[in-house]
Structure formats: structure tokens, C-alpha cells
């Protein structure tokens, strides 16, 4: 049993992501949390690349890492919320939340291991052609996604208008 390069890369990325995601919910500084989130998003994009979904990885990078995190940083700076990050929730609730989370985590992991994924179903690495993705996205045949695509477009439009309406000065 030898360790391939891919496994090493995955191990590093996964470790970084796990650490950063824990960090992003435990750190006392909001900006650090946002930065940790950024690294998680980068790692997610890396995972997509490793899975062969290059288009998805690109979208993840541009929309999430490029767009959303910038929005976060902006709003963090706009709302000066850093100073009251240190306020803690009551101890009892924190305890309950932690217990629930830990239990849930181990339960899920237990289920994962007992659920038949043990089979080695890893396919060969196939590069997903972005042109195929585009065709499927606007395709109207059996594996076409034109309807969800349109729905999501309308949703995005509505959200944009909504966001502007909400945030604008009265």
C-alpha cells in the first residue's frame, strides 16, 4: 500500500479545510473567521478540481472566493461588528449545543462507516468538458437543466432587486 500524490494532496487540502472550518466558527475575530472561510472555499474548489469538475471549481473560486467573501469583508468593515464578537452565549446553551453537535457528528460518521460506501467505487479521473456542462445547462432534452436554470436566474434577479430595495437608504 503506497501513498499516491493524489492522496497526499487530498490529505493536505482536507486537513487545511477541516482546521479552517473549525477555526472559522471558534475564532474571536470576525475578520479571521472570514479569512478561514476563504481558505475553506479555496479548499472546496480544490476538491472540485480533484473530482474532475473543473468548471464547478472555477465557479466556486470566482463566485464564492471572489464574490461572496469580498461581500463579507465589506459588510464586516461597514458594520464594525468586530468589537462585540467576544460576547458569549450562556454556558448551559453552549454546553447543550456542543453536546448535540458532537453527538450528531459521531452519529453521522458512524452511519457513514456502516452504510456500504466501503466499496471502492472510485472512477478514473475524467476531465469534465465545460462545453458539455454548458450544453446540459441550457439543454431541453432528458438531461437538460433549462428549467432550473431559468428558475435560478429569476431567483437571482429577485434577490438582487430585493437586496437593493432593502439596503438602500430611505
Amino acid at each position: 500500500m503506497e501513498i499516491t500524490l493524489q492522496q497526499i494532496v487530498f490529505g493536505v487540502v482536507a486537513l487545511m479545510m477541516a482546521v479552517c472550518s473549525v477555526l472559522s466558527v471558534t475564532t474571536g475575530r470576525i475578520l479571521r473567521a472570514a479569512t478561514a472561510l476563504l481558505f475553506v472555499l479555496f479548499g472546496t474548489a480544490g476538491l472540485y478540481f480533484m473530482l474532475g469538475y473543473t468548471y464547478l471549481g472555477a465557479v466556486q473560486l470566482s463566485v464564492y472566493a471572489g464574490g461572496i467573501v469580498v461581500l463579507y469583508v465589506f459588510s464586516i468593515l461597514l458594520t464594525r461588528s468586530d468589537k462585540n464578537m467576544n460576547r458569549r452565549i450562556p454556558r448551559g446553551r453552549w454546553f447543550a449545543a456542543t453536546v448535540a453537535v458532537v453527538t450528531g457528528f459521531f452519529l453521522t460518521v458512524f452511519l457513514l462507516f456502516t452504510n456500504g460506501f466501503a466499496l471502492n467505487t472510485v472512477p478514473a479521473l475524467v476531465e469534465q468538458n465545460p462545453a458539455g456542462v454548458g450544453e446540459a445547462l441550457v439543454g431541453m432534452d432528458k438531461y437538460g437543466f433549462i428549467l432550473p436554470f431559468e428558475a435560478i436566474s429569476v431567483l437571482l434577479l429577485a434577490c438582487m432587486i430585493g437586496a437593493i430595495m432593502i439596503a438602500r437608504k430611505h
Binding site: 487530498f10 466558527v25 472555499l41 472540485y48 459588510s75 464578537m85 453521522t108 432550473p148 437571482l156
Partner: protein
């Protein structure tokens, strides 16, 4: 040797529960939103992984992930708009302090 599917799933589980933990314990709206993003990403990874490992011939999971990203972008935009609005009104985005609209 390839990377086992379970590795991805455990990673996404870690992210998911980290997000849940953050959602439970954070009191800052932005931090809560960050936790939500973590959870969303965890599910997105799951979609992609299942698509790739179980049904490699089709693109459902792939597109679900894509739509998930789009939805989270929309959600973030609206949430941040609301947050800024709230901040403008109460000079605060702590969940405990925003209770004027409580029934």
C-alpha cells in the same frame, strides 16, 4: 490507490458540524452567516462527490452544486442587505439585541 469516497464524506461532515456549531454558538449575524456558508459548502461537496462516485455518467449532482452556489450567493446578498439595514437602525447586529420584531 484512489481516494476513498468516505474521506470526502468525513471532511464534509466535519465542515457541516463545524457550521452547525457556529450557528448554535455565534451571536453575531455575520458570523452566523459564515457558519451557514460552511454548511452549504459541505452539502455542495456531498452533491459533487456522490455524483462523481455513484453516478458518473450524469450531471445532476454537479448542477445541484452549481445551483447551490448561485443560491448561496443570492442568500448572502439579501442577508447582508438586511444586516446593513438592521445595523443602520439599531447600530448593532447581535442577535440578542434584535428583539423588537419578536411577537
Amino acid at each position: 490507490m484512489e481516494i476513498h469516497v468516505i474521506s470526502y464524506l468525513i471532511l464534509s461532515t466535519v465542515m457541516m458540524f463545524a457550521g452547525i456549531y457556529g450557528f448554535f454558538t455565534r451571536r453575531n449575524l455575520l458570523a452566523i452567516l459564515i457558519s451557514v456558508e460552511l454548511m452549504l459548502n459541505a452539502t455542495n461537496i456531498n452533491f459533487a462527490v456522490f455524483n462523481r462516485y455513484l453516478f458518473p455518467g450524469v450531471l445532476e449532482g454537479h448542477f445541484f452544486t452549481l445551483f447551490g452556489i448561485a443560491i448561496s450567493a443570492a442568500e448572502t446578498a439579501v442577508a447582508i442587505a438586511i444586516m446593513i439595514n438592521v445595523y443602520r437602525n439599531v447600530r448593532n447586529i447581535q442577535t440578542d439585541d434584535i428583539n423588537e420584531m419578536k411577537g
